[in-house]
């Protein structure tokens, strides 16, 4: 089955995953089915209820991805007590819909009737949308982290990556997308037609020591059509390593031949002893012997990092580096300030500038002077009349009173373009996710390999008047070399000052 994540068709399909986008960060993953398995008794068949209305699945499938779908009138009230009443937040009038006929016994579902309000967008699944909507089982590796990890691990179409703990499956989906270079056909594994002999299909080998979580991830991957790319193994990797289970043998023997490793484990250093080129117990190495292997560990605490790095050094991993990722989302809005925004939501009703403030104060002063004057006049005329106040007010309503008109700079500008465009960080920041430790284990290289290489490429062969590489003139090369040298000098100078500053 083609996965809607990787090779989607142009419209939503039955029995496939679709994401129902209600609003930012609120997406409901749904497998589209006409008949509801829970038998909740909707006349329209399977229905997804949201706070923005009810959506029978009959209105959702075979829609072009990205379509805006209107909510339908669904009778949620008269179908017997549903178990999950809480999830149903509906407008009240739908209960009295006119099409409440006696055809509920029919096996065919009645046609959905468009409601007067409410909609959603039906989106094609991507690892990003899945990550933001997935059912949480453990701490989730979010988009900024996994995108950087996969990029730095050099995971590309055709790679094989080991992932331990599968957790909630967020990283699993992202890495399945990264390694995808075709669906391996189950019947013929590596021995297909001769032209395909060099083709190596990318795969993800996912290990999870929690049986239930492993089962859940496996289930999801089947539903998402990714089961041919991801091998989920229920395993304690600290103890049992990373070899894949073999249907025939009792112990796992097949090497995944991984090019990259991602360890989201509480104690990654305990798993490192299995990730070596020559395991002591004469079992196969889980690593790809023909390439370098990149590793990344994901740990929230500094103590874990220190132990991991120490273990990496002992196992001869190179180019060890540790980073943390600081990610934030930014809100953009229009900030409106001015006295004319009386009654406008989220605007500052405040003078726009000093001139406005001055004018406003002048007007207020003037008005109060007039008010007092009129009071004085009234007092003089009819000393203790009860109506004096109303009279005074009446007088003040006169058109000759000064009124304040804010300096109008918004003339002709529609409301959505008024105000100053400002941005700020989102209110809740994830200030720390985890520390990322990266390292590389180069290919093995021995004297024999070296000897062969020397034979093929005689070491001291240096042609004196060598032909320049194509596409580059001598002059160009020279210029580049100079630029390089300059750059080097620059950075060196910088480094010197840095070192000094540090001391």
């Amino acid at each position: 089955m083609a996965s809607p994540f990787l090779t989607p068709s142009s419209s939503s399909q039955l029995d496939q995953l679709a994401l129902l986008h209600l609003r930012r960060d609120q997406t409901i993953p749904t497998i589209l089915r006409l008949h509801d398995d829970g038998n909740l008794g909707y006349k329209e068949g399977n229905v997804t209820n949201t706070r923005y209305g009810s959506f029978p699945h009959s209105t959702l499938f075979e829609q072009p991805w990205g379509s805006q779908i209107k909510a339908s009138k669904v009778d949620t009230g008269s179908r017997g007590r549903p178990k999950k009443r809480k999830a149903v937040e509906l407008e009240s009038p739908s209960g009295t819909a006119g099409d409440d006929d006696a055809d509920s016994s029919k096996p065919t579902h009645s046609k959905a009737v468009a409601a007067s309000s409410g909609f959603l967008h039906i989106l094609c699944p991507t690892p990003e949308l899945w990550t933001s909507s997935l059912p949480h089982r453990t701490q989730v590796v979010y988009t900024p982290d996994y995108s950087y990890v996969l990029h730095r691990l050099g995971v590309r179409p055709g790679s094989t990556i080991i992932e331990a703990g599968a957790g909630s499956g967020s990283f699993t989906h992202a890495s399945a997308r990264a390694v995808f270079n075709g669906y391996p056909s189950p019947s013929t594994d590596s021995t297909t037609s001769p032209t395909r002999r060099r083709r190596r299909y990318g795969k993800v080998c996912s290990f999870e020591f929690h049986a239930q979580r492993a089962g859940k991830v496996r289930e999801e991957l089947v539903e998402h059509g990714l089961d041919s790319l991801v091998h989920v193994t229920h395993r304690d990797v600290y103890r049992d390593g990373f070899l894949l289970n073999d249907p025939e043998a009792q112990t796992p023997t097949t090497s995944p031949k991984a090019n990259a490793v991602f360890l989201d484990l509480p104690a990654p250093w305990l798993a490192l002893k299995h990730l070596v080129r020559n395991p002591p117990s004469s079992t196969e190495s889980p690593l790809d012997p023909s390439t370098a292997v990149h590793i990344c560990t994901f740990s929230p605490c500094m103590e874990q990092v220190q132990r991991t790095i120490s273990a990496l050094r002992q196992h001869s991993w190179l180019h060890i580096s540790m980073v943390e990722l600081q990610h934030k989302r930014i809100e953009v809005k229009r900030e409106k300030t001015g006295l004319e925004y009386e009654g406008v939501r989220s605007a500052n009703v405040f003078p726009r500038n000093v001139e406005d403030a001055l004018q406003k104060m002048r007007v207020v002063e003037e008005r109060s002077v007039r008010f007092r004057e009129s009071l004085g006049q009234d007092e003089g005329a009819q000393s203790d009349n009860e109506n004096s106040n109303t009279n005074a007010q009446n007088n003040l309503d006169d058109a000759d009173l000064p009124t304040f008109t804010p300096s109008n700079t918004n003339e002709g500008i529609p409301p959505h373009a008024q105000g100053r465009l400002v941005h700020r960080s989102e209110p809740d920041l994830k200030t720390h996710t985890s520390y990322l430790v990266f390292a590389v284990l180069p290919r093995e290289w021995n004297d024999e390999d070296e000897r062969k290489c020397v034979e093929k490429w005689p070491s001291q062969n240096v042609a004196d008047s060598l032909p320049q590489p194509k596409g580059k003139s001598r002059k160009q090369l020279k210029r580049e070399a100079q630029a390089q040298e300059l750059a080097e000098k620059d950075t060196k100078a910088e480094m010197k000052t840095e070192v000094k500053a540090e001391e």
């Binding site: 142009s10 706070r51 209107k70 007067s116 309000s117 690892p127 995108s147 950087y148 990610h327 809100e331």
Partner: protein, 565 residues
Amino acid sequence: MFSSIRANQFVVLRLPSETTKIVQIVPNTLINCGKFGSFPANQIIGRPFYLTFEILENSGDSQSTHLRIVPATELHAESLITEGEGDDDVEVNEEGLPLRTNREIVDDASTQKLTLEEIEALKRNSTAAGKDIIAKILESHSAIDQKTAFSLAKYTLRKQKKYMKRFTVFPMDVSALINYMLENRESANKSMELRDELMGLLGSWGNVHYGGDATLQQTLSKPNGRYLVVDETGGLVLAAVAERMGLLHPEEGSDNEEENGGLDQQSLAVDGNADDETTKPAQRTQRPAQMSATGNTVTLIHANKQANASLLKYFGYDQNNPDESHPLFTHLKTISWLQLLDPEADPIYAEEPAIIPEADLAALKTNKRGAYHRKRNRWSRVQSVVNEVRAGGYDGLVVATLMYPESVLQHTVPLLAGSAPVVIYSPTIEPLTEITDLYSTARKTAYINRKRELEEQKQPGEADGQTDEFPELAAEFSVNPTLLLAPTLETVRVRPWQVLPGRTHPMMSGRGGAEGYIFHAIRVLPTSGFIQAAGNPSRKRRKVALAQSNATPTDTTSADVEMKL
């Protein structure tokens, strides 16, 4: 993925000074690392990546140069030793005070007893790649025993950077190229100061991935994995997109199994797969034409007559003289804005070269005939690319542009299929806040209301006006705000740490400059059903329904509206 260093490949050398250098490994040449020495290229061809080599030579005899692979234990020696000693970095006396501090150290040149001339002489005569120089220098540093472990480590490191004749070979990939471009100011400007972590995010939000090869495409309902790219970084973003699609590195490419180029042959031989040699006869029969792939393609829209993707040369794809065996040859398509928006104004597209009958063609001179075929091919290539792009239905849009992004989106968003992601990188935030504002909820509502207004006006005059294009609307709204869902602005920065036994802290200094931001959103298809919704009981009720279906349920608060759209 890269198994070994191949001849004629570009690689990245990291020198002890922490600077990097891009070199092409041409066989039988000398590779020069500046003051860190030089070595014959043949001595690293075929060897694995990520190893550190030490240049050893007898002084004065360049023929004796040979390389030694520095083992990992040696590279980690210092940390391993400190770790072995335990974590008591700070030696204390019986009162619990640190035994060695930098209180007594006087910073002047007099502590170093070797003179400059002596060091120079040492450098000339040394053979052991600078290690003995460092040892001598350390030896003759009069205050060395006063140094704390911390400062001693730093001192050794500094001297190492200066005198060690070492280098490390890294494969050329997008990550390495990005970091290389950031190293000096000039090239950083060229690459719009795009950092590695932002590139990763760009690819993820753009949902850029392999879209299937020819055989897989057949089983799909439409050609898959077609991406539009607007890239003014000289090809860096394009390279990243191609890398994610499996198009950048020929040896690991997904579509090159039937294309056994010379490079493959070499790497095979190195790998020891000698049995491949038999199936190698030149099979240059029918190569697919340039830009001819239907799926898993990148289409670059460029603002000048020629696309600038010069950085692709580091990946073996020279734009001016493209290698036919490179996956990008068929999968990279280029189109100029002129060709996209006003194709008839583009002479290559509009003027079809006259067809010369076969008989006449045979009579022509070879070079004339060649020129004729070239022109015909170019015309049909441009025709097919331009028509394909104008037909739209793309799976994603990735933008890193110097232009106003608004105008880019105006013309490209309509070319996307529903649910296709849009991502824009900008070194500064202002262009992106403007874009975010253009797709704000308030603007969406205003757009929908205005559109309905115009439709109401129009209907009496021309009842069957099927076009929902309103010039007034386009004048007021440069982009249609209802086409993008969940516009989001974000940024990410990597903070590197130093992790050494007892001396773990974030790096003291880093790169400033542009912060770098990413805008992303999803192309959606707003419902247009209400236009055709004839036979509604009353006009008035329909109007109400329109307003609601496009804005929000009336009973929700306006706070919900803002977040919902």
